[in-house]
Symmetry: C2
Subunit: 412 residues, 2 copies
C-alpha cells in the first residue's frame, strides 16, 4: 500500500491555524508582518520543531524547517508556500502549501521513511504584497531578484518599513537571505480559477505561469461645468477612459484563447457630479501564457489609447510599469507530479497559472513546478475562498509522492 | 447722452477685490465662510457704506445694501450675485455681479439720479456649494426652499457646521432670512459657456435655466484575481460603468440639440491593478432647457444601465437624487434687458443657461431675469476663467439701464 497523509490530523491543524486572525465572515486577516502574521509564524515554528525539523529564519523572515537526508551533502528538495494573507482574505491561499508540506514531513516521520536528500519546508515572507509592495518579496530576495536593502526599505501606508516591522514582530533572522543549491522546488496552491472543477479534476499539474504586462495610463483634458459646456467643446478624460475599458474587453475576445485583460483601478479628478473630468488615471493588466499574445495586446491597446486621446482632444501618458514573460516550469518536475498523481489515483490535468507565485522566482534558480487544487467558483483573495477538503488531501498526497520521487530513498 | 458706468473705477475696484484670496495662477480661493471670504465680505461692507448704502446682514450671512427710492413704500428692485468662489476658482464668477451692482449705485450717485423704487444690492452666501452642500444655500433659505436650521446644520469636510463657521467669521446677522415683496431681481453673471463669443455678442439675455437630473448609479459584481479568472466568468462592475459612460455620450448626440450629459464621478472598489472591480459607484448628470428631453434621456439611460448590468451579470442600484425642471424667467424682465441692451448699443442675443444660479430661487418669489457676459473658451470654475473687461463694462451698463427701467424715476 502506498504511503498517505493523515487527512484528519491535517484538518485539525488547518482549523487551529486559521483561528489566528480569523474574520467573522470565515476568512483570515493576516497581512505580512501584522500581529496576526506574527502569531501565525509562532505557530509554524512550534509545529515545525514538534515535527523534528531544524528551524532557521533568514534576514527576510523566510522560515525554513530542515529534515536531514541519508546523504547530508545532497542538494535538498524544497517545498512550501506562504501564510501571509490578503486583507480579509481566504483560509486556503498559501496556507495549504505550508501546512501541507508540514503534513508531508509528519507522514514520513510516522512511516519512518528516510529520504536520501534533505527535505526543507519553507514559508515565504510577504507573498501577497498587499501591505508591502511588490509581492513575492521574500522569495524575490532569496533568488536575487531584489536586493535585501531594497526590500527592507519598502513601506506600508503608515510609512512603516519592512525592516522595522520585521524586527518588531521578532522575525528578522540571522541566516543570510540567499539560496543554496537546491535539487528542486515544489509548491501546492489553490488554483484561483475555475478550470479544475470545470474539468472534474482534483489536481492541476502546472506547466508554467502566464506572462503579463501592467500599464499605467493617464488622460488629461479640461475640467468644466457640466451644464453650460456643450458636448462639442468637451475634453472629457473619463470618456476616453471608458474607450480603453471597452477596448481591453474587446481585445480579450480576439487576442488569443487564454488572453485576459483587466482595468482594475480608476482615479478621476476632480470627481464631482457636475464637473467634466479633467484627469483620469487608470491601469491595464494583460496576461497570457503566450508572450506574443501579450505583446500584441499591449501594442493594440497603445493604439486604442492614442486614438481615444485624439478623438477627445486629450493629452495622455502611458507607461508599462511591469512586464514579465511567461514562465514554463521544469519538465522533470512536471513528470514527477504526474507520476505522483497516478500513484495516488488522482484525476489530474496539465494547466497553466494566470497568477504569479513564489514558484516563479524559485524557477530561476532550480527545477520547479506547482500543484494546483481546485478553487470553488474560481474565487480567491476573498473570505469566500473555498476548496473541498478531499481535494486538499489529494493534492497533498501528490505533493508527498512528488517529494519522495525527488528526494529518493526507501520511501520511493 | 445716456448715463454710463465708470469703467476705470470699476476695474480698479475689481483688481483690488481680487487680491483677497488671490492664487499664484491668477485665480481666487475664497470658498464660503473661509478667512478669505470673511475679508471679501469686510471689503464689500466698507464699499457699500462708502457708496451710501444702508447695510444689513441676515441670519444666513446674505449681505444687502439699500438705497432708498423716491417712494419709500414701493417694492424694491434687487440685483447682485455672490462672492464666494470655487476652491482655486476664477476672478469673474459671481464677483462681477456684485461689484457691478455696486458700480451701478455709484453711477446713480454721481449722476444724482433718484429712482422711484428703492434699490437693493445683494451678495448671497454659499452660492458655489463646494464647501457646504447644497449650493445656492443663502438664496435658498431666503426664498423658503430650505429651512434655516437645515442650512445651519450643513457641515464641511472637517465637520464644521455652516452656523459655527458663519459665527466664527462674524457674519451671522440679525435680520431674519426671509424675503420681502420685491419688484424684480436681476443678476449679471459670466456665461460659463461658449455661445456668446461664438455669436460675437457681448451680452446674453437669459430666458431661463436648463432643467437637470442627477443620478447615482452603483454596480455590484465580483472581485477576483485578474490573472486566473477567465473572461467568461467575470462580473466586472467597471465594464458596465464604461457602458454607461459611452451611453451618456451617445444619448447626447441624439437626445435633443441642447442636451448635455456628464459622468463626473467614479469610485471603484477595491481599485487595485490586479483585482477585477467588484463595485463601482458613478454619477450621471443630464441637462436641457426642454424638460421632455431630460425625461427621455433619463428613461434611456435607465434602460442602458439595466442592460449593462444584465450583460455583465451584475446587481445595480439607480437613484435619481435631484430633478429640477427648466426655469423660464419673466418676460417683462427680459424685455427690459433687451431694451437696455439696445440703449447701450450692445450686441446681444437671447439664450438659455446650462448652469443653475441664485436667480433660479429668486424666480420663485418675484419677476427675475439674468444678464450674461462672455466666458473665454467657455471656461469657468478654474483659475483660467477670463472675460474681456469691455464686455464686463457693457454688461454692467445693460444692468444699469435695466435697473433704471425697473425702478422708474428721473433716470429713466
Amino acid at each position: 500500500m502506498t504511503v498517505a497523509i493523515d487527512a484528519d490530523r491535517f484538518r485539525r491543524r488547518f482549523d487551529e491555524f486559521n483561528q489566528i486572525g480569523a474574520t467573522e465572515r470565515g476568512g483570515v486577516n493576516r497581512p505580512a508582518l501584522s500581529d496576526a502574521n506574527e502569531r501565525a509564524r509562532d505557530q509554524l515554528v512550534e509545529w515545525f520543531e514538534e515535527a523534528g525539523l531544524t528551524v532557521r529564519i533568514d534576514e527576510m523572515g523566510n522560515l525554513f524547517g530542515r529534515r536531514d537526508g541519508a546523504d547530508p551533502d545532497a542538494d535538498p528538495v524544497l517545498f512550501g508556500s506562504h501564510v501571509d494573507s490578503q486583507y480579509n482574505g481566504g483560509q486556503y491561499d498559501g496556507v495549504i502549501g505550508v501546512l501541507g508540506a508540514l503534513e508531508v514531513i509528519e507522514t514520513l516521520e510516522d512511516a519512518d521513511i528516510r529520504t536520501d536528500r534533505p527535505l526543507e519546508v519553507v514559508s515565504w515572507s510577504n507573498e501577497e504584497g498587499v501591505r508591502f509592495q511588490p509581492d513575492m518579496l521574500g522569495s524575490g530576495v532569496y533568488t536575487d531578484v531584489f536586493d535585501l536593502e531594497y526590500a527592507y526599505e519598502r513601506t506600508d501606508d503608515d510609512d512603516l518599513s519592512f525592516r522595522e516591522e520585521l524586527e518588531r514582530i521578532g522575525y528578522r533572522g540571522e541566516t543570510p537571505c540567499e539560496h543554496d543549491d537546491l535539487h528542486s522546488y515544489y509548491e501546492m496552491h489553490v488554483e484561483q480559477g475555475p478550470y479544475l472543477l470545470e474539468n472534474d479534476c482534483s489536481v492541476g499539474v502546472v506547466e508554467g505561469v502566464y506572462g503579463f504586462s501592467w500599464m499605467n495610463v493617464a488622460f488629461d483634458g479640461k475640467a468644466d461645468h457640466a451644464g453650460p459646456t456643450p458636448m462639442h467643446l468637451r475634453n472629457d478624460a473619463l470618456v476616453a477612459t471608458s474607450d480603453v475599458i471597452q477596448a481591453v474587453r474587446r481585445l480579450t475576445a480576439v487576442g488569443g484563447p487564454d488572453l485576459v485583460g483587466t482595468v482594475g483601478s480608476v482615479e478621476v479628478s476632480p470627481n464631482s457630479i457636475n464637473v467634466i473630468p479633467e484627469r483620469v488615471e487608470c491601469t491595464v493588466d494583460f496576461r497570457s501564457y503566450d508572450n506574443a499574445v501579450v505583446d500584441e495586446a499591449v501594442a493594440q491597446i497603445e493604439r486604442e489609447i492614442a486614438a481615444a486621446a485624439e478623438r477627445e482632444g486629450l493629452e495622455y501618458e502611458l507607461e508599462e510599469i511591469m512586464r514579465v514573460d511567461a514562465d514554463p516550469f521544469d519538465d522533470d518536475c512536471l513528470e514527477r507530479i504526474e507520476d505522483a498523481a497516478q500513484t495516488v489515483g488522482a484525476e489530474y490535468m496539465r494547466m497553466t497559472s494566470g497568477a504569479g507565485h513564489d514558484a516563479n522566482y524559485l524557477n530561476t534558480i532550480c527545477p520547479t513546478a506547482m500543484i494546483f487544487v481546485p478553487s470553488e467558483d474560481g474565487i480567491s483573495h476573498t473570505e469566500d475562498e473555498f476548496t473541498e477538503w478531499d481535494d486538499v488531501v489529494t493534492g497533498t498526497n501528490v505533493l508527498l509522492h512528488t517529494v519522495l520521487a525527488s528526494a529518493g530513498g526507501d520511501g520511493r
